[in-house]
Amino acid sequence: MVAKKEFNAMFKKRATLLIAGAVVWALIAANYLFYFSYFNRTKYIDSGSKMAMRKGYYSAGRGRILDENGVPLAWSERFFDLLLLKAPELPKFQKMLDAKLRHIFPDIKSCSSIPSYTVIYYNIPPNKIAGLERTIHEFPDLKIIPRTERVVVDYPEIKKIIGKVKMSDSLLRGISGIELQFDETLTGKVGTYTVMLDRHKNFINGTWHLEKKAQAGEDIILSSSCAELKDAGRKP
């Protein structure tokens, strides 16, 4: 009986010490919490924003080149491609990714046979982009990347006169022919935005903010018709 009483007293004392330890710990933890959520909050928010916020540039589109009758000779088109940064390591996940992609694109190759950083599907139809959202979330190494291309009517003579463009600072810039001659008019002005990126460098929904609106490039109307341009292009 005495031994039991002794044990009970010892137990109570030691259990009380443990409880006291838990209380002291809770006070310290609350202090840490308060430090980050109130005292030094601004510093950590700024550091976090610096890491996650990105300023991006976008163009409202390069102007078209039209002949004297208003027939478009060159215009810009936006396409979306599917890029695989890296195939999943485990065969189980490779199979899962293949099944999900083949559900949308039945003739796509197996991801296990594709090297890293490969575009696995060009020109995704708009109606299929929404269907990819869930798969991209589950497999962050899969990305939809936009691509703007300059399309010129399919006459080599006219293509020669119109000239070429190349992407520079998110804008298509003329490097030869009419594209270069009227580059300033066609290009327009670039717009800026800020967005928060996740750890896979994807945009986080709801964090996109427009900072400066882009100004679309102007169309230019040539003083010759399409036929005249073809004739001119044939001359050496």
Partner: protein, 375 residues
């Protein structure tokens, strides 16, 4: 009213069962509240995913099953558990070995059995049986023998878990040993000698897993390698800072959803801090303290049975220790280690094991094999 509350906490004998029943009820209500709090937090931390209710819905299911597990395990007399502690220990220990051979590797850790669409983590279920075993050993031995046998059992249980490797759970097992030994009247000098005994193991596992040292160096100087070893530390700090005092609101936890590692399990507390802010996350600490205090009262007031007393208190304290470890990592008091917030974090094994532990605690707290309760 005050008198009644005072009576609740101060008076009890074996023939008056009401106070203990009410305390048991408090424990169950608090666990239910924590479970529901967890479901909401899981939803907040996965709200940007294409299926935001997937994890929260499953957790609600685990919570429901867990409550049933707690109810049924609390109905079985505690003597059954303690009499069969060794048999139960073998049943719980074998999967710890088997998982090293046939387990599934997730995030570099081989700690799960794949059963259909679910994963079972044996080290979670091992915790409660491990405590039971330690109590059983402690009650049948004395002095140095007690320390030696208990330490041997603890090392045997910790080794397979360390080989997975799951060092967060190893720490919980180590704490379980210390708590039981301490509450059974263990000698302080033996406890102080433990770091020296553990040193060769620590050196071996640090050499085998160099990331442990990297994590520590990242903790000491997160800016030294902000994209590597300092990454997790910084993300916890940024997440809590974004929550501020009042939180960003459920569904607006951008940082939790985008940057926190495993936001619905190992980073749960930081996620709650972003959604609900200081005023929504600090009360969790209070709820934990209240729960542990109630367990303490139950342990003090239970009859003069050493095993029951120690098991009750040790179960409560082990729950508190895991809670403290998780929160300490999330508020960057400690270097990062993967450990769930019991009851709140997503995970069927963790939920079931915690509920089973509290079921055994309630069984130990009752004397239904001796007294007829009026409910």
């Amino acid at each position: 009213m005050l008198q009644k509350i005072k009576k609740l906490f101060t008076e009890r004998d074996t023939t008056d069962s009401k106070p203990v029943i009410l305390l048991e009820l408090f424990v169950q209500i608090l666990l239910l509240l924590l479970g529901l709090w967890g479901c909401m937090a899981i939803y907040a931390s996965t709200s940007f995913s294409p299926a935001p209710f997937y994890f929260a819905g499953r957790q609600l299911l685990w919570l429901t099953i867990g409550l049933m597990v707690m109810f049924f395990s609390s109905r079985i007399p505690f003597d059954f558990y303690i009499d069969n502690a060794w048999r139960l220990a073998i049943i719980a220990y074998l999967p710890l070995i088997a998982v090293l051979m046939i387990g599934v590797k997730i995030n570099g850790m081989r700690g799960w059995f794949a059963v259909g669409n679910s994963m079972i983590q044996p080290s979670e279920f091992g915790k409660v049986i491990y405590l039971l075993l330690l109590c059983s050993i402690a009650s049948t031995t004395k002095g140095t023998k007690r320390f030696g046998y208990m330490l041997l059992a603890a090392v045997m249980w910790m080794l397979p878990v360390a080989l997975q490797p799951d060092f967060g759970t190893v720490l919980v097992y180590a704490a379980g040993f210390l708590i039981v030994y301490w509450l059974f009247g263990g000698k302080l000098r033996y406890i102080l000698a433990l770091p020296f005994i553990a040193l060769p193991f620590i050196i071996y596992f640090c050499m085998k897993n160099p990331y442990l040292i990297k994590r520590f160096s990242g903790y000491m100087n997160p800016d030294g390698d902000p994209l590597g070893s300092g990454w997790h530390i910084r993300q916890f700090q940024f997440t809590i800072a974004r929550g501020g005092l009042f939180g960003t609101g459920t569904g607006n936890a951008y940082w939790t959803n985008s940057y926190l590692p495993l936001p619905h399990s190992d980073s749960m507390f930081a996620g709650i801090s972003e959604s609900l802010g200081f005023i929504g996350s600090a009360p969790l600490l209070l709820v934990m303290l209240i729960l542990v205090f109630i367990v303490y009262i139950i342990a003090i007031k239970v009859n003069n049975n050493k095993e029951r007393k120690v098991f009750i208190m040790a179960t409560g304290m082990l729950f508190a220790f895991q809670f403290m470890l998780h929160v300490s990592v999330n508020v960057t008091m400690l270097p990062p280690t993967g450990i769930t917030l019991p009851i709140l974090s997503y995970g069927g094994s963790s939920m079931m094991a915690t509920m089973l532990a509290f079921g055994l605690l309630l069984s130990a707290a009752s004397e239904r094999e001796k007294v007829n309760f009026e409910i």
